[in-house]
Structure formats: structure tokens, C-alpha cells
């Protein structure tokens, strides 16, 4: 049964990764990354159950916290760039290249 959760985690991770690669909106990309991180949270909890210790769940809390911090920073940056460029399309962030 637990493998189902792992499969779910894997799917979530893949959807997240796919989203990061294909969505053009910076906010959407942020959300996709959240998905990936959440996938590992699910996996952590699953593994925690599997091994019967609490290490994984503990880890998951830390991951959530870190995710929050990352999102806070990320959104701030997206807001900044929206202010400067009036767009949050990731494809248009190509001033720096070569």
C-alpha cells in the first residue's frame, strides 16, 4: 500500500518538474516548484511510516518551513521584476545571455 504513496509522490514530482519546465508565468513556475517539494514531503512521510521512525516526518516539517522561506523570497523577486518590466513571463527575462 505504501508504494502507492510513493507513486503519488513520484507523479507529483514529475508534474512539478514538468510545470517548471513548461509554464511561462513566473508565479506558475514557483507553484510547480512547490509541488516538487511537496512530493518529497509525501515521500518523507511515507518512508517514515515504512521504517517506523519519526525522522521522516520531522524532516517534512523542516522542508515545509524551508519552502515557505523560499516562496517568500521568490514572490518578492517576482514582484520586483513585475515592477520593473511589467511582466512575469519567464521567457522575457533574457536581458542576460550569451
Amino acid at each position: 500500500m505504501l508504494t502507492h504513496y510513493l507513486v503519488l509522490a513520484f507523479l507529483l514530482f514529475s508534474i512539478g518538474a514538468f510545470g517548471v519546465l513548461t509554464r511561462r508565468n513566473a508565479i506558475a513556475i514557483l507553484m510547480a516548484i512547490e509541488l516538487m517539494l511537496n512530493a518529497s514531503n509525501i515521500a518523507l512521510v511515507t518512508f517514515s511510516r515504512l521504517h517506523g521512525n519519526l525522522g521522516g516526518q520531522l524532516f517534512a516539517f523542516f522542508t515545509i518551513t524551508i519552502t515557505v522561506a523560499e516562496v517568500a523570497v521568490g514572490l518578492a523577486i517576482v514582484v520586483l521584476i513585475y515592477r520593473l518590466r511589467k511582466t512575469v513571463n519567464a521567457d522575457e527575462m533574457d536581458f542576460l545571455k550569451g
Binding site: 516538487m36 517539494l37 515521500a43 521522516g56 522561506a69 520586483l80 536581458f95 542576460l96
Partner: protein, 481 residues
């Protein structure tokens, strides 16, 4: 049952104290140079404390290990921190009130680095890793009125968090395979037989590959370096990478020791393409910071060579390499900052006539370039030589040959920079008379770095012997827990 050894973590506590102090001072003092110099003074004190505080051992159930290896690395981080702070003072003057944040974030990242190299437990490791990374995103976008800086921040952020997600999944898998977050359990549990363990290694390599800018995980480097403020880039280009290498050593040599044949080939391969791409891509660059970014990737390639070798000497020589790299690369970035402040940009043609406008500054840069290029009797020469030596001893002869050939390519673009300063003339002749103003703090940093590069170039033993003993204890502590 919880052992806790405070003295082992005295630098970290001191650092936290320093952060608080800087925070408070920043709140109440309007002259933002005061928190700056406070940070620098604190870091210098810390540097020497770290140098002369031989409290080695492990604490918190062996989840944190402090040895001469970590001490050495902390020295490198602190050195980078000092130079980055010195370099930032004049840059931050335009940001008025926000200047204090820079130092706080820098110190936070430093704290993360110090912890990450000490961590021997996954949760601690991951938290420290993020503590190191997140302030860097903010710092990259520090100049929020400059859309290039913000773009650099965004790119670093997206790339970084994506990699974090990969790393998180990697660590999760490691935990999943063994059921413990302690490295000593993981070391015995992660075997080649487990497919998930292999997947864990792959994701781990991808995550850390981002941090050290291993090709093809390097693509954020040039953009971020070009866009972000130079003093920060100087820091970004060395300190997190040193941490990344320490992580690589810890994980590969202990956790994944069972998969050594696999990762050795992989790292050797990536070392090769990193050297090639870094050098080749640096060739057509016209922006100094971008050029240094690519050349930095090439340097990472050389160091990965030593990682692939994976011997005690190789570890020592990577440490040595980082000292050389911190001094010369950060020096070069600070030079770029001086150029930006004077000319309003860092493209190479801005350098025309510099040798005549400010011979001393040009001389500093020349020394850094020679060191980066690996010319004898500046430090970079020995760094490269030692790494090659270590790699040859591990039988990576072909890669060393490749590296040696690419060194000539590297000299091409380093000398090209020298050419812009010494040979090319500015378009308007009267520009030759315009002086180049060098802020005192940067001047101090440049002078010290140049001096160190030259002295250590003549007498590398000063750093080599501590590096060797650090590597020795590192392997001992790996086996010890």
C-alpha cells in the same frame, strides 16, 4: 544522552552574536559604514579565532563534526566574507538605509556554510544548505532598481529552488532507503544494490552540481554573475562553491563510498566537459564579469578532477586551490567593481588604457590574471599543478592532458584581459588622463589579496601543509564515526 559541546561551535555562536550586533547597530546607526566595518572586524576576529581554536571533535550525537578540515573551510569562507564585505562598502553607499541588510544576509549565508560542512545528519544538512542558499537569492537581487540584478536574482532563484527540490528528493530517497538521517547509518546502508540509492545519488549530484556550477548545471552562473552586484558575485563565486565541494567530499567519500566506481567515472566525465565548456565559452566573452563566470566554471572543472581522484592528496589540493581561488577570483571581481564604478560598466573595452590611468590597479589585476591562468610564481600556478599531480597519481592522465591544453586556452582569454588594460588605447585620447578612482576599502582588499597571491606563490607551503593535515583528519573523521 544528548552530548553538547559548546566550545566546538564557538565560531558559529560568535557569528550569530555578530549578526545580532550588526542588526542592532544597523537599526540605530545612520552611517551605514559602521555596521560594515563592524562586520569586517568581527569576521577578522572570527578568522583568527577559527585559526587558533583547535577544539576539534563531534557533538550532538555526532551530527556535527568539527575538524581541522572544517576549520580550514571555515577559514576560506571567512576570508571570502571579509573580502566581500570590504568590497561592498563603496558599492552599498548608493543604497543608503538598506546597506545593513547586505551584511546580515552575508553573515546568514556564512553561517549556513559553516554548518553545512559540519553537518553529519540529513535534516541538519538540508536546513544548513538552504540557510546558505536563500540569502544568496536575496543578495543577487539586491539592487532592486536595476532590472539586470533582479533578473539575475530571479534566475538564480528559479534555478536554485529547482535544484533544491531535486536535492530534497535525493535526500528523501536516501532516508527512504536506510530509514535513518544519520550519516553513519547512511554510510553503511546506501549500497549499489538499491536502485533508489542510485537515484538518490543522481539527484544529489544534480543538486550539488548546481551549487558548484558543474556543467551542465552551470547555466545560471554567467547570467547571475553578470547581473548581480560584483562584491556579492565575488562571494558567490567562491564561498558556496567551496561548501559545495566539501559536501561532495563528505557525501561521496562516506555515504556513497559503495558506489565509488560509478561516481568516479561520472565526476571525471563532468570534470572533463566542465573544463572544456568553461574555457571555450569564456573565449568569446566581452563582459569581464561574465568572462570570469565562465572561467570560474573552468576552474570548477579542474577541481572536479581532484574530486574524481578522491584521494587524500586530492582533497588537500582542492582546499589549497580554493585559497588561491578565493584570493585571485574575488580580487578580479573587485577589480570589475572598480571598473563599473568608474566607467559604468564592465565590458572589456572599458579597460582600455587602464595600465596608464592607474598602473597599480592594473598590476593587481595582472597578478590575479596570472594566478588564474596558472603562471608560475603566483599562487594559481601551484594550485593547478597540485591538482594535476593528484589527478595523475589517480591515473586520470588523459584528463590532465586535456586540462593542460585547456590551460593554454585559458591563458588566451586571461591575456586578452591584460591586453585590454595594457595594450589597447581608449578611443578618446583624453581619456588616458582621466584618473581611476579606487575606493579605499577595495584598495585594501586588492592589495592584501595581491600580496597574498604573490607571497603564497613564492612560498605555497604555508597553505599546503595545513591543507594536507586537514585532508588527513577529514578522512580520519569520516572513518571515525
Amino acid at each position: 544522552m544528548m552530548d553538547f559541546n559548546w566550545t566546538l561551535l564557538n565560531t558559529e555562536f560568535f557569528l550569530v552574536g555578530l549578526m545580532l550586533l550588526v542588526f542592532l547597530v544597523d537599526l540605530f546607526v545612520s552611517d551605514k559604514r559602521i555596521p560594515a566595518w563592524l562586520t569586517i572586524a568581527g569576521l577578522v576576529v572570527l578568522f583568527f579565532v577559527n585559526l587558533w581554536a583547535p577544539h576539534y571533535g563531534s557533538t550532538l550525537n555526532g551530527t556535527l563534526v568539527h575538524s581541522s578540515f572544517t576549520a580550514f573551510l571555515k577559514g576560506v569562507f571567512l576570508l571570502a566574507g571579509i573580502i566581500a564585505s570590504l568590497g561592498a562598502i563603496s558599492t552599498l553607499r548608493q543604497f543608503e538605509k538598506r546597506a545593513g541588510e547586505y551584511y546580515l544576509l552575508l553573515l546568514a549565508s556564512l553561517l549556513g556554510m559553516m554548518l553545512v560542512v559540519m553537518a553529519r545528519e540529513l535534516v541538519l544538512f538540508f536546513v544548513a544548505f538552504e540557510l546558505m542558499s536563500i540569502p544568496l537569492y536575496v543578495l543577487a537581487a539586491y539592487d532592486k532598481a536595476d532590472d539586470r540584478s533582479v533578473e539575475a536574482g530571479l534566475k538564480l532563484f528559479i534555478y536554485g529552488t529547482f535544484s533544491s527540490a531535486l536535492l530534497a528528493m535525493g535526500v528523501t530517497l536516501m532516508y527512504g532507503v536506510v530509514g535513518s538521517t544519520l550519516f553513519r547509518d547512511l554510510a553503511s546502508g546506501l549500497t549499489q544494490a538499491e536502485p533508489l540509492a542510485i537515484l538518490g545519488l543522481v539527484l544529489f549530484l544534480a543538486g550539488v552540481g548546481f551549487k558548484v556550477a558543474m556543467v551542465p548545471f552551470h547555466m545560471w552562473v554567467p547570467d547571475t554573475y553578470e547581473g548581480a552586484p560584483a562584491p556579492f558575485v565575488a562571494f558567490l563565486s567562491v564561498a558556496p562553491k567551496a561548501a559545495g565541494f566539501a559536501i561532495l567530499f563528505v557525501f561521496l567519500l562516506s555515504l556513497f563510498q559503495d558506489m565509488a566506481p560509478f561516481w568516479k567515472v561520472t565526476v571525471a566525465f563532468f570534470a572533463g566537459i566542465t573544463m572544456i565548456l568553461g574555457n571555450l565559452l569564456a573565449l568569446p566573452q566581452t563582459n569581464l564579469k561574465r568572462l570570469l563566470g565562465y572561467s570560474g566554471i573552468a576552474h570548477i572543472g579542474y577541481m572536479l578532477l581532484a574530486v574524481a581522484a578522491g584521494t587524500e592528496r586530492a582533497i588537500a589540493f582542492v582546499l589549497f586551490y580554493f585559497v588561491s581561488y578565493v584570493l585571485s577570483n574575488m580580487g578580479a571581481f573587485l577589480f570589475a567593481e572598480v571598473v563599473r564604478q568608474n566607467e559604468g560598466g564592465e565590458t572589456l573595452e572599458k579597460l582600455h588604457g587602464y595600465a596608464q590611468r592607474n598602473p597599480l590597479l592594473s598590476l593587481y589585476m595582472l597578478v590575479f590574471l596570472l594566478s588564474l591562468g596558472g603562471i608560475p610564481f603566483v599562487m594559481g600556478f601551484w594550485a593547478k599543478l597540485y591538482v594535476f599531480l593528484a589527478a595523475v597519481q589517480s591515473g586520470l592522465v588523459l584528463l590532465v592532458f586535456l586540462g593542460a591544453v585547456l590551460t593554454v586556452v585559458a591563458l588566451f582569454y586571461y591575456l586578452n584581459v591584460a591586453r585590454q588594460m595594457y595594450i589597447e588605447k581608449p578611443e578618446q585620447a583624453e581619456k588616458l588622463q582621466a584618473p581611476v578612482r579606487v575606493p579605499g576599502s577595495i584598495h585594501l582588499a586588492l592589495a592584501l589579496a595581491t600580496l597574498a597571491v604573490a607571497v603564497l606563490g613564492l612560498y605555497p607551503k604555508l597553505v599546503v601543509s595545513p591543507a594536507l593535515s586537514a585532508a588527513h583528519t577529514f578522512l580520519q573523521t569520516l572513518a571515525g564515526f
